[in-house]
């Protein structure tokens, strides 16, 4: 093979590496990478819709059955489907964040990223943006299907829906940050955590039942979790047609604390991985 020169013509024009524009460019670059990945496989796109669709179908039919009984609570329009769809927002957003991060490790690409000008907060921002895009790809068709199959219109929640969505996504990012940090430090052996962390919240944040069902001592724990306020709010709107916005402010305040704690945990584990040399051993 002949060996021509690499630099005798087109030199790279390097943009300033600091500042908000540089950060946005790198975040967009990484989101573009995730978009390429999603586009590379039709199976991945189908998978994003497949599981939430099955969930929605199962709970939708249960709701339909209960509605035909004498149970007045169960007859309230769409409470179960609403619960499933909102839970899926939390769960899928969390999975989107974590699996996208794990994917960098599977592909042994994390080393390349961490030596590039990409800052850790930019990586986190890209994962967060991507979790919303990924969530939308899955949830929009499933929400439309919920309307077509069971007449449940998620938009009936009105403006509160946007607030619920925001609260749930913020919580999912906090969980995703903790899972990503643990995996960084302990490697892919801790991968199970990425899948199971959200399920820890399932019984505590009262997805399918009111907080009042929990034992007295457990109720403060449930109320300290932002998603609990979302599910309580959703039930309140669908069953009584009212909703106390103060609940949402409380949830947002809690989310701020969890997000700061999540990012601090991620940063601490990243620093610990640099300390222990585990960043060199990442991969399948």
């Amino acid at each position: 093979m002949s060996v021509p020169s690499v630099i005798d013509a087109t030199e790279p024009v390097l943009l300033p590496p600091r500042g908000a524009r540089a950060s946005l460019r790198r975040i967009a670059g990484l989101v573009r990478r995730y978009m390429y990945l999603l586009r590379s496989s039709g199976v991945r796109i189908v998978e994003l819709i497949y599981w939430p669709f099955l969930q929605m179908l199962s709970w939708g039919f249960l709701q339909k059955y209960l509605a035909s009984t004498e149970n007045p609570y169960a007859q309230a329009a769409g409470v179960l489907i609403g619960s499933v769809l909102l839970w899926d927002i939390l769960f899928r957003s969390k999975i989107g964040f974590s699996t996208t991060f794990i994917e960098e490790m599977w592909s042994r690409n994390l080393g390349n990223l961490l030596i590039s000008p990409l800052r850790p907060f930019e990586l986190v921002a890209a994962l967060s943006v991507w979790s919303i895009i990924r969530l939308s790809v899955g949830m929009v068709p499933v929400s439309i299907a919920a309307f077509l199959f069971f007449g449940f219109n998620l938009l009936d929640l009105g403006l509160a829906l946007a607030a619920f969505f925001f609260v749930l996504v913020l919580t999912s990012w906090s969980l995703g940050l903790i899972a990503a940090g643990v995996i960084l430090r302990y490697g892919l052996g801790a991968e199970e955590l990425a899948w199971s962390l959200a399920f820890l919240l399932l019984p505590l944040c009262c997805v399918y039942y009111p907080v009042s069902i929990l034992p007295d001592w457990l109720q403060p724990v449930a109320l300290a979790l932002p998603p609990t306020h979302v599910f309580e709010g959703m039930r309140s709107i669908l069953l009584h047609g009212t909703f106390d916005p103060a609940d949402l402010w409380w949830a947002l305040g809690l989310n701020a604390i969890y997000l700061v704690a999540g990012y601090a945990t991620f940063s601490w584990f990243l620093s610990s991985a640099r300390e222990n040399g585990t960043l060199l051993q990442l991969g399948e």
Partner: protein
């Protein structure tokens, strides 16, 4: 070893007239529990030099490179790249350096062009399309641009990895076993490519390698590591002469086996 490399003064992190050296390592130490992976090493690398870190398995080569990249935090000591303390301020110089290793991959499902486009954005290359086309042409990977990276052969992956590493035309290029698992023809091609890049760009290269022929061919200087310590720091020719041997490989074997030329059986000496 060269004593001046051990005793770095504050001035020695600069080339002169406030121009910082590409690499200045001072008293660098990395300890994992009771294992001392890198043991108080100090060295500098002049602009435009090609320096090889040589040593057996576990000698501390990869750990040293990882500390230079900011992937590992030193237990003690200091790593400066173009004057920036890599433990605290690596982002100020990240755009001026790059890295290639067969132990780090690009995402397999993305095409070569998609991967290079993403890294062009991460490195802030404004003329990304032009630059990718140019590097692809000169590394002879144009026909691979539309192919999935994971479906390439080892030699093709190495060329693509090199394209990623040269996208930003780094002033400092770090390489860990750049020709591992390549056939001799491709390995030779990669070495010639690296050599011509270093010469034309006046770039500084620091490579870790087990391949003595590669080191003899590429490096102006060899830093020989053993058990995390620098035991030799010379030009390849000076090392060969000092040990009275014919090749760098003989020198390496003498050093890692703890013997001198006189102790080697005559039948093996050549």
């Amino acid at each position: 070893m060269n004593e001046t490399a051990r005793n770095l003064s504050k001035d020695s992190v600069e080339v002169g007239a406030n121009v910082p050296l590409p690499v200045a390592v001072r008293d660098l130490t990395k300890r994992y529990g009771t294992v001392m992976a890198v043991n108080h090493i100090s060295f500098t690398v002049e602009p435009g030099a090609t320096v090889a870190l040589l040593g057996g398995n576990g000698a501390g080569k990869t750990t040293t490179i990882a500390m230079l990249l900011g992937l590992i935090k030193p237990t003690a000591g200091e790593v400066r790249v173009f004057g920036a303390d890599m433990a605290r301020d690596r982002y100020s110089v990240a755009q001026r350096m790059n890295f290639q290793s067969p132990y780090v991959d690009l995402p397999a499902r993305l095409t070569v062009k998609q991967n290079l486009t993403v890294y062009a954005e991460l490195y802030g290359i404004a003329n990304a399309g032009e630059r990718i086309g140019y590097v692809a042409e000169h590394l002879q990977i144009e026909d691979l641009l539309g192919r999935q990276t994971g479906k390439l052969s080892a030699g093709q992956k190495t060329r693509v990895g090199l394209a990623k590493a040269l996208l930003n035309a780094p002033e400092l290029l770090l390489l860990d076993e750049p020709t591992a698992s390549l056939d001799p023809d491709t390995a030779d091609w990669v070495r010639r490519k690296l050599k011509s890049y270093a010469r034309e760009r006046k770039a500084t290269l620091l490579l870790a390698s087990h391949n003595m022929a590669e080191v003899e061919r590429l490096a102006d200087r060899v830093i020989l590591l053993q058990a995390g310590r620098i035991i030799e720091d010379e030009t390849p020719q000076a090392l060969i002469e000092a040990h009275g041997r014919q090749t760098l490989e003989d020198v390496f074997l003498d050093v890692v086996r703890g013997r001198n030329a006189q102790a080697v059986p005559e039948s093996l000496a050549s």
